[in-house]
Symmetry: C2
Subunit: 486 residues, 2 copies
């Protein structure tokens, strides 16, 4: 497969070795050839989505242990092939398992470049271009949100959960700046509000920030999964009566399971009335802001104090790419800065406002911007608009607002079961079995879960640009094929 | 430069487009050719480390703005070239600016593969191989720390600051598990301890977690920058007398500026005596555990409850790659889990202990393991041992314990200045001017900062495997050349 000479070569033959140029280029080209073959294969419907093995089996199937003898470059290439053999083909047109699916070629090229540039976002000094591109792109995103002249602040963080945590941190600091120095013992009991269908990261963030999960009040949703603003107001009043301080409301734009959009205008009215920070968790649905046809679902987002928006989901940017946008300028800096003098020297020769690292929780920060910027350049808003699908022809239970379609498959054996409880119990077991079979056959992948009193159902999401109507039909037929004996 | 036909092609011509294979491969190959040329150039000493421009200039030098018309693939390639033209060549043998320098070819290949696999660490379901490799590698790292049979827990997080924050979160939860639900109002006033030379992320973490920066007590260091255990004990007693609860000590193994190693055994005795969680921030120095010759500097690390270790620093793994290792099994899971039923279904068909996502603060988590695993395979512990340099022949003020060498350059104009205060004032301005000139010439880059009562000095670190003794000589000569008129 690879040039036989690699059998004798080691990493020490590569750059920075003297005269390592040719060997390095040959080695990297070999790797690229492996990756190219994988890419072409991934888009081929004749290929399996996954060659599944149970963890213990997979541990045996290759020598994954770390050895005492260095591997030759040939062994390294073999390891690359083995890793890809057992990987999930996330680019596959029939991979629907997560909110992030598909593989964009411009995004991939950008990510390869990012790895090659191998730098860190903390200062302009070490990442001049990437810092500027982050500046340009965050401004554009704020303009799209609708904040005047795109003013405000923001950061790319390691995922939506961290973006949401940032928002909570900022809200707390805005209301009680002394919390930074004095901690939670200096502030009254704070409470946050989010819908019962919101993402678990709100509670996770509250636990981490020392607020506690019990101080996250879950607001009721209607049958389509949207937060009920009247219930929000009721719970805020209730909390105030108890002497607690409401400081944070997280509305969800595109819930994880149903894809529901909370009514932002009504929620913003409540937030304004009680002077509470309004956050919009648009990790999943934020990308609809790029669509003329669908952006009305986020009407009112410009009233938010902060917005999470993950281009690595619906916009198909390679993982990870999550932005937190903040309306107030300077707040992130004040909230998080620690003035490390070895990094953020104040006597540098350039405009220090480009040293954005001190507003982050992280010190080093991975470059997540370039892939988004390059893809945006290739696609522009217009093309994103055209790509954002809407399809809702086999939903059960409610009218879908996003590309989430939630449904049960009813196998023949339970279709006419009379005992409703018995039927429910049986139905709960159907999706897990079908999913397991799906993975063993490796033909397609889709997610399932229960929600509230609803037993296990499939959640089909479309964010994979490679998927066609035929692939969706395939999924339905495959579910039937794998589940008809249940 | 690129095939002229790309002038007419758009991203829509690439996969998943019908018959997009050939165009995709040609496009990606063009990108790879650009990257290969950049790599070879980066290692060439005739090339500048940076083609520096001030932010406002750089904004003008290329069209970085996001357009309304989609760029052709040819434009995309031009953007890639422009981005690299103005990037810092972090692989350059004369780039010494940060603790993370250099570019490893096996690590780069692994990072390209990671981008291509484009998946997420939250479940075995979507990242079977990477989850196993994380398991194998964390176990190996724990064995190297010295925990029996490599037992314990851990995670790869987005950088050392977040790893340290995890440690603090775990320490708090271990002592007061109710804090997860009830928040900080349910616990007494907690205090953490770390040396005055420790990394700013300890305070940043305390601010975020609601502990407050004032509850981080800075312990005195000796003249070489090591924490003084007697002062730690004194401050713990003082805190207890005030009714505060000491819960966390962060010892540093390799401080950022001096590269000092706190005396872990003596610190662990204090921690044991007062029943305080002992964390070792080995973000910078942890990699010395791979070295037979230098690992004594971390003697006592096996007594720690948690250890931060960043392979993206001294081990040259591409950014980002930071591990938190934890001695107690199960604690991370209990501390952070939220049981999201759409992701961590309990009725899956495989061993659920491999679904590690719920122990993270993040939901989605970038794959940072593969590059470390592949590099480790190529190099093994032995080669790392040989690579970890020690050089200390031009330090000023103290004997270096790591590859940090801190020094002033005394320009002729101040060498014989008699007024000590005047001299200090002048000397403080020397390093920033030399650094600015260095960047404008683009010949080399090294960091500077003040520390305590010491005015601005250079901090030379060697983590770049491409650097030779000649490159270090070059730096010294260049400093002299650029600073002799000051």
């Amino acid at each position: 497969m690879s040039p036989p000479l690699f059998i004798h070569f080691l990493f020490t033959d590569l750059l920075p070795a003297m005269d390592g140029d040719t060997k390095t280029m040959t080695f990297l080209q070999e790797v690229v050839d492996i990756l190219m073959a994988y890419i072409v294969e991934s888009f081929d419907r004749e290929t399996k989505v996954i060659d599944f093995h149970y963890p213990n089996e997979l541990l045996q199937m290759n020598n994954w242990e770390l050895q005492d003898e260095p591997a030759t470059l040939d062994d390294i290439l073999i390891s690359c092939r083995a890793t890809l053999k057992y990987a999930i083909k996330t680019a596959h047109p029939r991979y629907f398992n997560q909110l992030s699916t598909g593989l964009d070629m411009v995004g991939l090229a950008a990510d390869w470049l990012t790895s090659t540039a191998n730098t860190n976002m903390f200062t302009y000094e070490v990442a001049p271009v990437f810092v500027l591109l982050e500046y340009v792109t965050l401004k554009k995103m704020r303009e799209i949100i609708g904040w005047p002249d795109g003013r405000g602040d923001g950061i790319f963080s390691p995922g939506g959960a961290i973006s949401n945590m940032y928002a909570m941190l900022l809200a707390r600091f805005k209301m009680f700046p002394e919390v930074k120095e004095k901690g939670m013992s200096s502030v009254p009991r704070l409470v946050a509000f989010t819908s019962e269908h919101s993402h678990f990261s709100i509670k996770k963030g509250a636990a981490a920030l020392g607020i506690g999960t019990e101080s996250v009040i879950c607001i009721k949703v209607d049958e389509s999964g949207k937060m009920i603003p009247a219930d929000l107001e009721r719970r805020i009043l209730e909390a105030k009566q108890k002497g607690f301080v409401p400081f944070f409301v997280s509305a969800t734009a595109g819930t994880t399971v149903y894809g529901a959009f909370d009514p932002l205008i009504a929620i913003s009215d409540v937030c304004k009335k009680y002077n509470v920070w309004m956050h919009v968790d648009g990790a999943w649905g934020g990308s609809l802001l790029m669509s003329r046809r669908h952006r009305w679902k986020l009407d009112g987002v410009d009233r938010a104090n902060s917005v999470t928006w993950n281009p690595h989901k619906m916009m198909s940017v390679p993982l990870q790419c999550s932005a937190l946008l903040v309306r107030e300028e300077g707040l992130m800096q004040n909230c998080n800065q620690m003035h490390a003098c070895y990094l953020f020297q104040q006597d540098k020769h350039y405009d220090l406002s480009y040293d954005t690292g001190d507003k982050a929780l992280q010190c080093g920060r991975h470059v997540d911007i370039f892939k988004l910027w390059l893809m945006w350049r290739a696609k522009v808003k217009k093309s994103y608009h055209a790509n954002l699908l809407s399809c809702g022809y086999f939903a059960i239970g409610f009218c879908p607002q996003h590309t989430n379609v939630c449904f049960w498959y009813l196998p023949p054996g339970i279709r006419y079961m009379e005992d409703k409880e018995e039927r429910k119990k049986h139905l709960h077991k159907v999706a897990p079995v079908i999913k397991a079979r799906m993975m063993e056959y490796g033909t397609t992948m889709v997610s399932y879960q229960p929600q509230g009193d609803k037993v296990n159902f499939f959640r089909m999401v479309i964010s994979n640009p490679a998927a066609t109507f035929e692939d969706i039909d395939f999924l339905i037929e495959e579910i039937e094929r794998l589940g008809q004996d249940l």
